[in-house]
Amino acid sequence: MSRGNEHDEIRERLALFVAGALAAGEEDRIARHTATCPSCAAEIERWQLISGGLRQLRTPQPSAALFEGTRALAEAELAAQTERRRSRIVLTLLTVFSWTITIAGWPVFRLVTSGLLSLLDIRFRELWILFAIFSALTWVAGGSAAVLLSARRRHERRLA
């Protein structure tokens, strides 16, 4: 590359050089060039005036009232989010628990009622109905417990 071409190419990159946006190798090349090129050295100084000025612009600050108001709102939102998250976890656990009870309940139900069923002469179809009622009651009880638990936690948080 001729000296003139290199000079033009480097001059084009000086803004990014001052912005610290070049790779280390490229920075070295520019530094070597500007050490022997007064024109590019002067150009770097002009760019530095701009970059330095940008770095020194005054930082506007939010008012204390804005900060405090935002903090209060964000804290309330954080508490609400945390509460919702906990409720989701509790609900998930209750759902898993309910399904476990339901699935595990079937063989237990058969075992416990097999002797009684033979005495009462209850058919298989009726046994399913009894099991469905049992499951429904389990789910309703679990759901009610979750709702009550959630309402109680919300009430406690409001009092806190």
């Binding site: 001052v18 701009i50 020194q56 600050q61 954080l78």
Partner: protein, 192 residues
């Protein structure tokens, strides 16, 4: 950093951690928002929305990532949504001439200098702030992130959700445009 103790505590729902992070980032986030939307009232509103969004989304934040770019991304998304809603086209259009009055960003003071140097620096800084405000929003933001927030290019790319090459070229064009405005004294009709 993503592993910041305050960030970890915030993920567990600790309100003190929220206050800590707000105190740490309040000036930088506010400045960035003000650079984007330019109007203090809008910046106030977006500042509040940003922290509400932090409280809302912190559980989905991955601690393997860095908190700072994530925070600035939230602020940026809100600011750009606001600009699209309130001033459609403002993301590409030049700044209108009706905002020539001195704004908060142009009310600048200089560093601890003598009276004469202070006057010169004040005047220079004032011109720079006005020129910065005249730039399109995408140019203002990349300059603010690089020189005011002193973010690395990779972090800026994360905030902008753009490739590194785009960040570099935008930074280059922004500086060229800013310098051109300062040298010619032209402070309007700037396009990307």
């Amino acid at each position: 950093m993503g592993g910041d103790a305050a960030v970890l505590r915030l993920r567990r729902g600790d309100p003190d951690a929220l206050a800590t992070l707000m105190a740490r980032y309040q000036n930088r986030i506010y400045r960035y928002l003000l650079r984007l939307v330019r109007q203090p009232a809008d910046a106030d509103d977006l500042f509040q929305q940003t922290w509400l969004r932090v409280a809302e989304k912190i559980h989905s934040f991955h601690t393997s990532r860095s908190f700072e770019p994530w925070l600035f991304t939230l602020a940026r998304n809100l600011a750009f949504d606001h600009l699209r809603r309130v001033r459609p086209g403002s993301l590409d259009e030049p700044v209108s001439a009706d905002s020539e009055e001195e704004t908060k960003a142009s009310q600048l003071a200089s560093l601890d200098l003598g009276p004469f140097e202070q006057l010169l620096a004040h005047e220079r800084a004032g011109r720079l702030a006005v020129a910065l405000e005249r730039l399109p929003v995408r140019y203002r933001e990349v300059l603010s992130l690089r020189f005011e927030e002193e973010m690395k290019l990779e972090e800026i790319a994360t905030v902008l959700d753009a490739p590194l090459s785009t960040v570099k070229s935008r930074l280059h064009r922004s500086l060229d445009q800013l310098r051109s405005m300062l040298e010619t004294g032209r402070t309007s009709e700037v396009r990307e």
